[in-house]
Every structure is written in structure tokens, then in C-alpha cells.
């Protein structure tokens, strides 16, 4: 059962309630309560070590919070408790993510990376793989088509057979996002998608984020240090400092928020 004071206003798709995460003596997250609106782009900002990635890890089940509650509403009227989830379960429920240090399948090709991204949308099990029956072959053909289409669209035209490790940095970042998109997620979580990108690549990224959001019924949560990107794409911003949520609001409001300014620039 959910506590009655859980933040449910506006029917958020994902919400946390008093989320805390402790690593030994370090309190990485402290009583964080926030709500992510359905179909919005939400940015999590904060100085290094503020707990942004830990928050992501809790949301996607890579870490389980020490206390608190995570509620996920994939559809209206459907409520899933994600508090004690796991990474693969969250993925199957529609939460796809990227990682701060790109995690690609380096020795596999670009195409194989995206095919693995499709994993949760395919059904074939051990029996299908062993016998190669009609249903499995049809599914495999469909998977190839989906993956190739997606790769064409994301500009990997001639590169589908290249090993992921041989891609330049910008494309590696893009491939990781493409792999996450292959799962057709409900929520896409991007951990510093613009880190290390040059100006042009960052512009492409902004375009990509807007596109995928408008095409699919997608909610995007991103961690980002690039403030121009955050301010231009996000609908709502949450600022963390030392594991605490210090401000939430529209980009314009966050820019004026004294505590955020203090956290970034220090006090006089």
C-alpha cells in the first residue's frame, strides 16, 4: 500500500517518496521526494557527487534504496512498486537507460548491440532457439528489420557491421541511446548524454531528444551538466546537492533559485 501523502498530484508516471540511499557511512540520497510528469522531459542537475547517478540507479533497480518508496505508473490506473526492483525487471517494465561511462557490447557489432536492445520485446526462448521453428524465424526477421530501420534513422547507415569498440566517441554515445530506444521504453533515462560531445554533436543530441519525445509517447529523464542543453529541452528541473533535493521547478525558476546558485557558485 502506498502512504496517503505520496506525491500523486498530476498523475506522475514515476515518483519517489522520501528516498534514501546509504553506502556505509555515506548518505548518497537523503529523503528525496520528486515526481516525473507523464510525457515530460525532466532534468536532474547538481554538482559532482550530489547523488544524481545514485538516484538513477535506484530508479532502474541497479541499487535498492535503503528506505523510501518508488512508484511507477506505466499506464493510467496501473501502479507498480519499483522500490525493490532489479535492473532487468525495470527494463522489462519499460525503463531503458544509458550509462555515464558508455556501456556498449564492445566486441559485438553495432547491429548486434541494437538487437540485444530489442531483447525485452522479443519472446523466443530456449526451445525456439534450438529448433528454429517458423515462429522464431519470423520473429528474428522482424527483429532484424526493426533494428536496421532504427539504425538507418539514427544515421548508422554503413556502420551496422562495425564493432562497437571501433566507433568514434560521439557515435558510441549515440549507439547507446539507440540501443535503449530499441526497447521502445516508456521512460528513457539518460545519464549525462552530452558529456564529451562537441558543439555540433550536442545540437544533434538536442534534436534527437526532441524527436524521440514527440514521436513516441515517451517520458525522458536526464542527468546533465550542460546547462544550455538542460534549459533548452527540459520541462522540469530537479536540483540535488549532497543527496538532498534542493529545488524543483521550471528551467526559468531553477535559474533564479538562490539555493541552486549557491550550490553551483558558492556563497560570497
Amino acid at each position: 500500500m502506498l502512504p496517503s501523502d505520496a506525491p500523486t498530484a498530476g498523475n506522475p508516471i514515476l515518483s519517489t517518496h522520501n528516498l534514501s540511499m546509504r553506502f556505509g557511512g555515506l548518505l548518497a540520497l537523503s529523503e528525496v521526494s520528486l515526481a516525473v510528469k507523464r510525457g515530460s522531459i525532466t532534468a536532474i542537475i547538481g554538482p559532482n557527487g550530489a547523488g544524481k547517478t545514485t538516484l538513477f540507479n535506484c530508479l532502474t533497480g541497479l541499487n535498492n534504496p535503503t528506505s523510501g518508496l518508488i512508484t511507477y505508473r506505466p499506464q493510467e490506473g496501473q501502479t507498480v512498486n519499483l522500490t525493490h526492483g532489479s535492473l532487468d525487471k525495470a527494463a522489462r517494465l519499460g525503463l531503458a537507460r544509458t550509462f555515464q561511462n558508455i556501456r556498449l557490447f564492445n566486441e559485438l557489432t553495432v547491429l548486434e548491440n541494437v538487437l540485444i536492445g530489442l531483447h525485452s520485446r522479443l519472446k523466443a526462448g530456449l526451445w525456439g532457439a534450438l529448433t528454429g521453428n517458423k515462429k522464431t524465424r519470423a520473429e528474428e526477421a522482424l527483429a532484424l528489420e526493426l533494428a536496421n530501420d532504427l539504425l538507418q534513422k539514427q544515421g548508422f547507415g554503413d556502420l551496422t557491421k562495425v564493432l562497437a569498440k571501433n566507433l568514434p566517441y560521439g557515435l558510441r554515445k549515440r549507439l547507446e541511446i539507440t540501443r535503449a530506444l530499441a526497447a521502445q521504453p516508456t521512460i528513457l533515462l539518460l545519464d549525462e548524454p552530452a558529456a564529451g560531445l562537441n558543439g555540433g554533436e550536442a545540437q544533434d543530441l538536442i534534436k534527437l531528444i526532441r524527436e524521440v519525445k514527440s514521436e513516441g509517447n515517451l517520458t525522458i529523464i536526464l542527468i546533465e551538466h550542460d546547462m544550455s542543453l538542460v534549459m533548452s529541452v527540459s520541462d522540469e528541473v530537479h536540483a540535488l546537492e549532497y543527496g538532498r533535493l534542493i529545488a524543483s521547478g521550471t528551467p526559468a525558476a531553477i535559474q533564479r533559485d538562490e539555493r541552486v546558485i549557491k550550490a553551483y557558485l558558492g556563497e560570497e
Binding site: L62, D88, E107, T109, E112, H119
Partner: protein, 419 residues
């Protein structure tokens, strides 16, 4: 050495050079472009190939002359050499030339050669060929675990042993036949694979290697010390596989000897086992290549590459690891049953740690995850020691050296997994 002899050597080098060009030529002048995945022709290497092949053949002839080998020996080379050569030629041609790989006619010819091989050869060569096939099956099994899923398994011989002992014991105590025991042996090994897998789901890398190593040793020690398994004495007189209740040697041998020229020393039961394992390997290759390009196969690869990223893509790690272990062990169990039927006597030392290492070497040598590589690796690992029989004591030393050289010059294995 006279000038005349030298001239003769020069002339005689030509056929050898030609042979080298045919066998090694494709390796030298064709290059796979890793970016585009296309096969390219490298023109500037043709001269190198011609000169190199001739030089090598000439030096070999010179060496034979100087070392006093019988010159101008008539008749066929001994069967083993023939086997080794044909295996190597077959391996190179089939693996390196992609166009041939796709031609159906080529595969029909290969299949016919393999099917009629027993009629043309000696019992000894047949035994070696059967061993090669058994090791291919074992290699394919371990490949699922080590090559595709990246789980370092050092106790694989135990699962091989489970199959062999399942057949031997069920035959001895219950009188069950080969065809009943073949699936049972596979299943028993698969179940044991699951039993090993459950407690080690969370282990990876070195820790998994240690656990599997210990598991293999426990299995061997159990076999040695239990009364049920006849301890170190082992079990003998294991029945050959049945053929519709007929005695093969009585029924077919006179006819085959008279009309087809079968070697009189050949035991038709062994021929039957060869054919069974040949069919099984063909099926295994088919299944293994299907697995590689399936959702499950990709999950194994993802697990090998990055466990966290695999989970983030929705891959269930426990299920993926367990299926890899169970399926790989199933292959080993089948191979074990056939091994027991072939050799008719098994004892614990057949399933020692060294055996696990041999199978691992097959996978690593051939190229992890590559099916053609495993076929080549199994052939080398089985046939090479037969050539080195004279220097039996140095066998392990040579193996060790080979592995070190491999890791230095070709860490990805002889034949890398293609895409």
C-alpha cells in the same frame, strides 16, 4: 650432395609448392576487411606466395635428402598422414573461402567424403577420426559456456564423465542400451550443470573458474572412491550401440569386404559409432549456429561483454547463465555416452583436470565463439598428439608452447568469430 641430386630436388619441389599454394594460398592472398566485412584480394602478395611456397617445398626436399629419408618411396603415405592432410586441407578450404561455404555442391562432397571415409581407411585412423568428432562435440558444448557466455569453466570433463558413466553404469546394472542412454546421459549432465549453476549464479571470472575446477575434481574423486562406480578399476565391456538388433560384423562385413574393399581389420561397430557421432556433430553444428543468431545466443554474448548493460537491456542473468551451463553440459553428456561406447572401457583418469584443459584449449585455440574455429581446434588438438607420439613426453610441453605462441600472436584464436 651431388649437383644432380640438387637438381632433382629442385624439380621435385614443384608439386609440393603447388600443393602449398592450393592449401595456403587463400590464407595469404585473401584478406577480410574488418570494417566492411568483405573479402579482398591482395595482389601484391601473389609473388610472395609463389616464391615462398617454392622455397618452402625446396627446403623441405633438401631437408629430407640430408636427413636421409627414403627417397622416391612408392605407394601411398600411411593412413594417418592421409587423414591429417585431408582434414587440414578440408578445414582450410571450407573455412577460408566464403564462396565455397555457401555452395551446396561443396558441402555434399564433404558429407560424402566423411560418410565413406570408414570404407577407405584403417581402424586406427577411424579411431582418431571418431576422437576428433567427439572433441568437436565437446568443444561446441564448452563454447556455449566459455566462448559465447564468457563463463570460465575448468571442470568440463566432469560433465563428459557423467555421460560416459551414465551409459556404463546403466548398462552394467540395468542392461539398458545405447539409444536409451544417449538422451539420458545428456540429460543427466544437463541437470548436473544446473545443480552447479544454481549456487554460482552470482560468481563470475576467477571465482567461477575456482568453483568449477573444484567441482571437476570432486567428481573425479567420487568416481575413484565410490564402490558403485568400481573405483579406480573402472568399468569395462561396455556394449556397442545397437543397430536394429543385428550383429553388424556378421551381417554386413563379408559383403563389404568382398565388394567394396573394406579393410579386413575394421570392426563395423566402430564404423557405426563413427557414423552416429558424425550425425550428432552435424546436428550440433546446426543447432550451435542457430543458437548464436538467436535471442538467447545474443543474451549470452551480452552477458559476456557487459553484465550490467545486458541487464539494462532486460536480459535475465540467472536464466541466461543457467541455460548456457545446462546446454553446454548436455553436449558434453552426449559426447560422454559415445566416448564410452567407442572405447568400451572407462575409468576416472579419463575425466581429469587435464581433459578439461584440453577441451578449453580447443575453444581458445580455435577462436572463442567461432564454430569453424572449434572444428579446426579439435582437429589440431586430437591429430597433433598422434603425430607427436614418438615424443610423448614432450607433448604437454609442445602444447604449452603452442598456447603461449597463440596468446602472443593471435589472441583472438585461429579463426575469429565471423559476422
Amino acid at each position: 650432395m651431388s649437383l644432380k641430386a640438387l637438381k632433382l630436388t629442385l624439380v621435385k619441389a614443384w608439386p609440393g609448392a603447388l600443393w602449398l599454394i592450393i592449401v595456403a594460398g587463400p590464407l595469404v592472398i585473401l584478406r577480410v576487411n574488418e570494417i566492411t566485412g568483405r573479402v579482398e584480394f591482395v595482389a601484391e602478395r601473389v609473388v610472395k606466395l609463389l616464391v615462398g611456397a617454392f622455397l618452402a617445398a625446396f627446403l623441405w626436399g633438401l631437408f629430407r635428402q640430408l636427413s636421409g629419408s627414403p627417397e622416391g618411396r612408392k605407394g601411398n603415405p600411411p593412413p594417418l598422414k592421409r587423414l591429417g592432410l585431408s582434414a587440414l586441407i578440408g578445414a582450410f578450404i571450407s573455412l577460408k573461402v566464403n564462396a565455397l561455404n555457401k555452395s551446396r555442391l561443396f558441402w555434399v562432397i564433404v558429407a560424402l567424403c566423411l560418410l565413406f571415409f570408414p570404407l577407405m581407411t584403417s581402424p586406427y585412423a577411424l579411431k582418431v577420426a571418431t576422437s576428433v568428432l567427439i572433441y568437436i562435440a565437446l568443444g561446441l558444448g564448452l563454447n556455449v559456456i566459455v566462448g559465447l557466455s564468457g563463463l570460465l569453466h575448468l571442470g568440463f570433463a566432469a560433465f563428459y564423465g557423467v555421460g560416459a558413466y551414465a551409459y556404463a553404469l546403466l548398462g552394467h546394472y540395468l542392461g539398458w542400451g545405447f539409444w536409451v542412454c544417449l538422451p539420458l546421459g545428456g540429460l543427466a549432465a544437463a541437470l548436473l550443470g544446473l545443480a552447479l549453476g544454481l549456487p554460482v549464479i552470482r560468481l563470475t571470472g576467477d571465482y567461477l573458474a575456482i568453483v568449477t575446477l573444484g567441482f571437476g575434481e570432486i567428481f573425479r574423486l567420487l568416481l575413484t572412491n565410490l564402490d558403485v562406480t568400481f573405483g579406480p578399476r573402472g568399468i569395462g565391456q561396455i556394449a556397442p550401440p545397437g543397430f536394429f538388433g543385428l550383429d553388424l560384423n556378421q551381417t554386413f562385413k563379408p559383403f563389404l569386404e568382398a565388394n567394396i574393399g573394406l579393410n579386413p581389420a575394421m570392426d563395423l561397430n566402430k564404423v557405426w559409432i563413427y557414423l552416429i557421432v558424425l550425425g550428432l556433430v552435424a546436428l550440433s553444428v546446426k543447432v550451435a549456429s542457430r543458437l548464436e543468431n538467436s535471442r538467447l545466443g545474443r543474451a549470452w554474448l551480452a552477458l559476456r561483454e557487459d553484465e550490467i548493460a545486458a541487464r539494462a537491456a532486460g536480459v535475465n542473468i540467472a536464466f541466461t547463465k543457467l541455460t548456457a551451463l545446462a546446454l553446454g553440459s548436455f553436449f558434453a553428456g552426449l559426447a560422454g555416452v559415445i566416448f564410452a561406447a567407442q572405447i568400451t572401457f572407462i575409468n576416472p583418469p579419463s575425466f581429469s583436470f587435464m581433459e578439461s584443459i584440453y577441451i578449453l584449449v580447443i575453444v581458445v585455440l580455435g577462436g572463442q565463439g567461432s564454430i569453424p574455429g572449434i572444428i579446426l581446434g579439435a582437429t589440431i588438438i586430437t591429430v597433433l598428439p598422434e603425430f607427436l607420439r614418438g615424443s610423448d613426453n614432450y607433448r604437454l610441453l609442445i602444447f604449452g608452447g603452442l598456447l603461449v605462441l597463440m596468446m602472443v600472436f593471435r589472441p583472438q584464436g585461429l579463426l575469429k568469430r565471423g559476422r
